[in-house]
Amino acid sequence: MHVPDGFIDAPVSAAAGLAAAGAVAASLRGARRELDDRTAPLAGLVAAFIFAVQMLNFPVAAGTSGHLLGGALAAILVGPWTGVLCIAVVLLMQGVLFADGGLTALGVNITVMGVVTVLVAYGLFRGLVKVLPRSRRSVTVASFVASLVSVPAAAAAFTALYAIGGTTDVPVTKVLTAMVGVHVLIGLGEAVITTATVGAVVAVRPDLVYGARGLSAPLKLRVGGKLVDAVPVPAPAVPAARSTRTVWIAGLATALVLAGFVSFYASASPDGLEKVAADQGIDRRAQEHAAADSPFADYGVSGLTDARLSGGLAGTLGVGATVVAGTAVFWAVRRRREDARTRQDAATRADGRTQENV
């Protein structure tokens, strides 16, 4: 999905470059707040990890294989600021060193693949984790949904940029249909892999997963046969604690807007095809076939605002309903799971940590 030079015209590329520069500057500040002077080595190593994991091939079926894009994974594992930073650095190095993605399109690439992916993924993830009960299962669910949505969201963002500054006037609905359609499939793979990877890390080092920081159960001591709370250690500056509420509201809002907006457009295509079939069906078919040289000759899709609007509305309602239903279900079974979780967490924390030489 690396956009080459000449795909998006110069003004829009420049605007996307400015947006990307702003996002990277904000991330630099945010990451420094999270990691202070550990930023350089840690973000660098995580960027190297993203770079390496993009080379890990996941075989799909005979012959074909896919790989991780890593935006959602980075956001969940190391947090949004560091995540944007890592993806941006990976894209920069891919552009400069490996000629992968055009230099003028660097802003577009960072905006689409770094900023949009990470923001959507992390917003959704945070919102879901906040809404769902505090358990490892909800981290799994949240990372699945977040990475599933983030990939088509990036595709939609690319299409938006293409609609403004594309150098060819391919009908926007057609680009969007193709992009989002393909990327829903890619997103499905991304979601499965990301979820499994996050699960693997949570199982071994839950303290490393930025998105699961709220999960750790308070330390209990057994004093005289009774469990009592240990002396509360002042939490080592969890930056999210300050603004969790705003963050999860923002995430949920993103989800709703996204569902509304994306399906607003995505639904245009099937409806469009139906409409075209209806419009050009019986009366015009004979004439069309006589006139047209190729099946592609008359392939324009037009109008359909009401169909899209209803699609967007349905998407918004869908997210709302899913969140409500999911919350209800998880609320109902929360009690039973809580005990099991505490035990599990204690067991994993007892796991040894391997040390290697630098």
């Binding site: 000449g6 080595p41 941006a88 650095v89 060193l97 150098t167 060819t168 490393l208």
Partner: protein, 253 residues
Amino acid sequence: MGAGHAHRLYRHGHSPVHRMPPHCKLAAVLGFVVVVVSTPREAVWAFAAYAVLLGAVATAARVPPGFLLRRLVIEVPFVAFAFLMPFVVPGEQTRLLGVSVSVPGLWGAWNVLAKGTLGVAASVLLAATTDLRALLLGLQRLRLPPLLVQIASFMIRYGDVITDEMRRMSIARRSRGFEARGVRHWGVLAKTAGALFIRSYERGERVHLAMVSRGYAGSMPLIEEAPASRAQWSSAAALPLTALAICLLGWTL
């Protein structure tokens, strides 16, 4: 860190292009690509002239054409997209090799192919003549935030280490009879990715401690101070300025 400190695209050499300061080269390539992107697509001859310019640079840098052409395959996905354009773009139709295609689609495909190829070729030339450290130094001199340059340098420095770690895990998997064949094996691969993340992160922590113990206080010492002379700047500017002249001609003609 035993791996060579050069990347796959770099070709060692002592040509004038190799010796040019990295920030001059970066600025020249960026300027060139911007000019190429803003050239009107109807000026077909201008793109031919750009290709000749790049060919001249490649000759000066002693980069063989085969090397350059092999690296261009990175473009293939978008080439496929470009080949679809004449069929999906609506508009005036024309016949080409007995197939009906649209004229704006053909122009669009040409536009993406020409500009994309020139952009990739320019980047490949830059990467082929500049080694890693020089490239990072160049980025820093072009006023990229130092922290970003540090992150990039750590990524590059440890990229090989992490990739090697991944390769060793792959060998370990295969030596135990594992072969990833389909979706059913994603779990194992995802666990690999998870383990790789933990190793990378912990290595990052250790690297940080090692740096702190050697006096790191948030910024790296600048060892090399090599400002570019006026002559170097002007020789680097030759490429984008010639391209700009061609571009202006393309707009006026």
